[in-house]
């Protein structure tokens, strides 16, 4: 590649610089749109204020990240929705931990996992109740917690495995 000098700074400097900056911005905008369109776990164009303004008790994971955790098998998934196990679809292999029956549900689960085990909590997409439950778990010594962003619906949309209502989760 041979180097040929660009025009001198001075007359024409700003028009050339600004034109080039415009070209680069157009390329960046085009690529951003393209990447956004093809990405399966694309960020919504308008942010949900609740996601950012709520002080969550545990970090959020996207459905795509949760799929990786699911495949790794290290994390146990906890369904925090206030429904009876088996009456609604849920993430395959998920256990039930509800706010209303927190102590009873947790007692049943203490044989299955220990406080140091990594847990993923999910609900119907509303982060506030899931975060509250995470805080209650932390108070009992469960520290390795994450929350699924978007709940079961986004999990299913991302291609996550679910168990239909008839054969629902445990306990």
């Amino acid at each position: 590649m041979t180097s040929h000098p660009a025009p001198n700074p001075g007359r024409g400097f700003w028009p050339v610089t600004l034109r080039q900056a415009g070209v680069l911005l157009a390329v960046a905008v085009g690529l951003t749109a393209l990447v956004w369109a093809v990405r399966p776990d694309r960020l919504p164009l308008v942010a949900d204020a609740a996601v950012y303004e709520l002080e969550l008790a545990a970090p959020l994971v996207t459905p795509a990240e949760a799929l990786v955790l699911f495949d790794d098998g290290d994390f146990l998934f906890l369904d925090t929705r206030p429904v009876d196990p088996g009456t609604v679809d849920t993430i395959s292999g998920a256990f039930t931990l509800r706010a209303a029956t927190f102590d009873d549900d947790l007692r049943l689960l203490t044989d299955i996992f220990l406080p140091e085990d990594p847990l993923l909590l999910f609900g119907d997409g509303d982060l506030s109740p899931v975060s509250n439950l995470a805080a209650r778990l932390q108070a009992r010594g469960y520290e390795n917690l994450v929350i699924l962003k978007g709940g079961l619906a986004d999990w299913a949309r991302a291609g996550g495995e679910t168990t239909p209502a008839e054969t629902g989760g445990t306990p």
Binding site: S3, A6, L31
Partner: protein
């Protein structure tokens, strides 16, 4: 000699911007949280900024490395460096204890004076490629032949 200084600056700034963009491109949600922590970008623009900024960094980084639209790329790099310095200064003045999110979205360097100095160096390194007549071999020269 001067042209090699220009080339070195191009590669240093370009490489820095490319490296800075990689983690942000992979984790847009986490980067949006980093931006939100500065409390400077309005909520409706938050995700747009989180999506666009890393791509701008990649494009200007690559443009500087290969020497395509070199002055425009250096102009953007200088502008972004100024924006970063303003954001960091603002966070320091408000006493925010946040991570800068400069190179990774998972924790990273806390905002502080050292970051301002680093961005000042980056800004200085943008000037030769923007102002110099010749800053070493570049793709643009092929199109001027």
């Amino acid at each position: 000699m001067k042209r090699w200084i220009g080339l070195l600056c191009r590669w240093a700034v370009g490489g820095t911007f490319i490296f800075a963009a990689l983690d942000k491109l992979q984790h847009p949600q986490a980067f949006a949280t980093v931006i939100h922590n500065y409390h400077l970008v309005p909520m409706p623009l938050l995700h747009g900024a989180a999506l666009l900024l890393p791509m701008v960094e990649i494009v200007i980084g690559l443009a500087l490395v290969v020497g395509w639209q070199r002055r425009g790329a250096a102009f953007w790099a200088a502008g972004l460096s100024l924006v970063f310095m303003a954001a960091i200064s603002s966070a320091l003045l408000r006493g925010l204890d946040i991570s800068c999110g400069c190179f990774n979205t998972d924790g990273g360097h806390a905002v502080g004076m050292s970051l301002l100095f680093r961005d000042l160096l980056l800004l200085a390194a943008c000037l030769p490629p923007m102002l110099m007549r010749d800053s070493g071999p570049e793709i643009d020269s092929l199109f001027r032949q």
